[in-house]
Symmetry: C2
C-alpha cells in the first residue's frame, strides 16, 4: 500500500510519517524504539515525528511498557478519535453505511431500505442523512469526518468517479456519483466496485486479517469476485478484474446471461439453485428457508451439485493465484454448511497437492457490512497515503 516514491525533503518527512502511522496501525502499542526498528529510521527521527503526530492528534500515548533495566518506555498507538470515515454501500434496494474511526474500527452501522430507483440524487442525499444521523447518535462532530467512500455495483470508472452501467440499476448509467457525494458531504470521496470493497474489508477486518493475497467470492443472485494481492485491491485494466462468476466450469453447460455457456454463475449461484428447485417447490419457500431443507433429497442434491461447481472454480483460483486464503461470502456460502463444505472439499481435491495445505478456505465474517467496511478502509488508506499531515 505504498504510494509516492522520491521527491523533496518535505515529501520524505511525510513518507516517513505515513510509514510510522502504518506501522502503528498494524501492531498498536509500540515504543518509539520499536517503531524505529520496524521503519528502519533512527530513534531521533521517529521520536520527533511521533511527537509531531501526537501534537496534531493523530497518535496518542498508551501507557508505559515494562522496563528492561532502565527507564520505562512510553507506548504509542493511533489515536482513534482523530478522524471518522464513512463507508457507504449502494445496493439495488438498500444502503449499508458504517462509521469507522482512525483505527478503522466500526463505530456505528446502519442498513436502510432505500430503493435505488429513486435515483442517484436521492440516494446521495439519503446517504448524507444516514451518516449525519449516525454521527449524532455516536456524539461525533461532522468536522471529524475526513473522507467518505462508496461501494457500488460495477462497472465503474474509478479515475473519473463515475458509475458506468450497473445491470440492475437502469437509471444509474454514467452517474458522476463521486462528485455528488463530495458535494453532499464536503469531503473527498472514492468509488470502488462492491466485490472489491468487500474483499478489502474482509482482508482487513474479517476472515482475512493479516493475509497478503486473497480471493473473495460472493455468491448471491450472481457470483462476483474481489482480488486482494499484496494487501491491495487488484483491479485490472478497466476496474473489470474479478469476474469469477463468468469463469467457465463446463464447456457444454447451460447458456449464461453473459452469452457464454457453462459459467459458474449459471450453475452455482442462488438463482441457479432457485431455478432448479422452482419446479418441486414452486414459490412455497423463501430462499433462506429452502437451503435449510437439507433433509429433502432434491434440495440436498441441488446444493451439492452447485457446491461442486463452486469448488472446481475455487481450485482454479487457487492454482492460478496461489493465495493464502479464499473467502466465501453471501448467505449461501456463510449460511449453508452443506454447500460450503462441499465446495471446500472439491476445491481441495482438485487443487495442486503442493498448494492444498497452504490455502485456507473460509466463510466471510463481516456479513452484510463487508462492502461498507471495505469502503471505509479505502477511505482510510487513501487518507494515510495522501500524506497530508
Amino acid at each position: 500500500m505504498n504510494a509516492q516514491i522520491g521527491g523533496n525533503p518535505v515529501m520524505l518527512k511525510q513518507m516517513n510519517k505515513s510509514q510510522i502511522l502504518q506501522v502503528l496501525f498494524k501492531k498498536s502499542p509500540l515504543t518509539k524504539a520499536d517503531v524505529a526498528t520496524q521503519t528502519q529510521l533512527t530513534f531521533v527521527t521517529v521520536s520527533n515525528l511521533i511527537t509531531e503526530l501526537q501534537n496534531d492528534g493523530f497518535v496518542r500515548e498508551m501507557g508505559l511498557a515494562v522496563s528492561t533495566g532502565g527507564r520505562k518506555p512510553l507506548l504509542y498507538g493511533i489515536n482513534p478519535d482523530a478522524f471518522v470515515f464513512a463507508g457507504i454501500e449502494v445496493q439495488v434496494e438498500r444502503l449499508v453505511c458504517v462509521l469507522t474511526d482512525f483505527e478503522n474500527r466500526v463505530l456505528n452501522s446502519r442498513i436502510v431500505a432505500v430503493d435505488s430507483l429513486e435515483g442517484p440524487v436521492f440516494v446521495a442525499r439519503k446517504s448524507r442523512e444516514i451518516v449525519v444521523e449516525m454521527l449524532e447518535e455516536s456524539n461525533l462532530s461532522m468536522d471529524l469526518l475526513a473522507r467518505v467512500s462508496v461501494s457500488t455495483p460495477g462497472p465503474i470508472d474509478r479515475e473519473q468517479g463515475v458509475i458506468v452501467s450497473p445491470p440492475n440499476m437502469p437509471n444509474w448509467r454514467n452517474v458522476p456519483f463521486r462528485d455528488m457525494i463530495q458535494a453532499e458531504f464536503s469531503v473527498p470521496c472514492d468509488l470502488e466496485k462492491d466485490a472489491n470493497a468487500a474483499a478489502l474489508g474482509e482482508s482487513r477486518y474479517g476472515a482475512g486479517r493479516g493475509v497478503e493475497n486473497l480471493i473473495y467470492i460472493i455468491v448471491d443472485v450472481g457470483i462476483g469476485g474481489g482480488i486482494v494481492l499484496g494487501g491491495e485491491v487488484y483491479r485490472g485494466q478497466l476496474n473489470g478484474a474479478g469476474e469469477v462468476g463468468h469463469t467457465l466450469i463446463d464447456l457444454n453447460g447451460p447458456l449464461c446471461n453473459c452469452g457464454s455457456h457453462g459459467c459458474l454463475e449459471s450453475m452455482a449461484s442462488k438463482s441457479a439453485i432457485e431455478r432448479e428447485l422452482s419446479g418441486p417447490f414452486g414459490n412455497e419457500l423463501v430462499f433462506e428457508e429452502l437451503i435449510q431443507r437439507t433433509d429433502d433429497k432434491r434440495v440436498r442434491e441441488s446444493l451439492l451439485r452447485s457446491g461442486t461447481y463452486l469448488g472446481a472454480a475455487l481450485a482454479n483460483l487457487g492454482n492460478i493465484f496461489n493465495p493464502e486464503m479464499i473467502i466465501l461470502g453471501g448467505e449461501l456460502a456463510t449460511g449453508c454448511t452443506l454447500y460450503f463444505e462441499r465446495a471446500e472439499a472439491i476445491a481441495r481435491r482438485r487443487m495442486l497437492p503442493h498448494f492444498v495445505h497452504r490455502v485456507q478456505i473460509k466463510p466471510a465474517e463481516l456479513g452484510k457490512l463487508s462492502g461498507a467496511i471495505g469502503a471505509a478502509t479505502i477511505a482510510w488508506q487513501t487518507m494515510v497515503q495522501s500524506l497530508t499531515f
Copy 2:
C-alpha cells in the same frame, strides 16, 4: 516496480536517481526539463542528478533537441555500455543464455545442449563458460557484468535462492543454485520460475511492450503461466502462482498427472495432442511436422479441439484478470495458426462482451529466448531498484 519508501536524505537522492533512470529507460532521448516534468522533481535537482549519473557513466548525452525559441536543450538517455547483464535459462536438456546491456537490449545469445542430469555444479560451471565466451565474442570485459539471473523450472524458493523440486530434473532437489551461480560469477544473482521470467521478458521486449497487466501462457509438454501485473511479476504465496495448466476445463475430463480431472494441460498441451494422434500416426512424424499436416482431418480435429480448450481457459483468465493482453508461447501456439486462431476465437466468444474489445491475444515474439531475456530483465530491475549508484 517501486521498492524503498521513505528514509533519509541520501536515500531520497537515490530514489530520485532511480526514478530518473527508469524514466530515461522508458522513453529514451529526453531533455532535463522533460525528466523534471515526468518525475515531478525540480529542474535543478534533475540537472544535478543527471550530471552525476553521467559522470558515473550511467547516462549519456544523445545530441540536441530542436529549439523552441531559445537555447537548444541537450538530450539524455541510458548509457547502454554502463553494465552487462546475463540471463540464463536452465532447461532439462539445454542452456539458453543471453547478454544484455544497460538498456537491456540483447547483445549476444546462445542456446547450448547441456544435459541437466550432469548436475547443478556442472551446469553452473558451464553457464559461466558460455557467458565468458559470449563476453569475449562481443569484446566485453568481465568487469562490466553487473548481475546474473537464472530462469529455472519450479517450484523454487526465491528468498533462499533454492531450486526445490523440478519434476523433470530429479537430481536437482533443494539445490542452492543462486549461491552457486554467485560463487561462479562473483556477482549477485536472482532466481525466477521459467514461466514468470518468460512473461516478464515478453512484457518488456516481446509482444507485451508497454503493457501493464498481462498473462503469458506457454504451451509445451505441459502448460504453464506467468502473470505480470502492474509491470511486475505476481508470484503468489509460495512463488506458486500461474499454474494455468491445472485449471479445470471439463469437470469430467481425463485424469491429469496432477491428480485432478479435466485440467487444461491434459487436454490442450503438446502431450495431449501427441497422445491423441499416436494411434493414427505412430512415431512416424516429429511434432513440428505433425502440426503442419492440417490437411489431414484427424490432425485438424485434434488441433481444433485442443485450441478450443485453450480458448476457454483464456476466456477465464480474461474474465478474472481483465488484462490488456494475453500472450501465447510455445511452438504450438506460435507455429500453428490453426491452433492459435481457434483459441483466440473461442476466447473472444466466451469472454465478457465488455472485455473482448479491450484485450489483445498475441503469439509470443521472443521464442526460445524469452525466459533468458526475462531473467536478464530481472537482473536489470533489481539493479536499478537497489539504488546503489
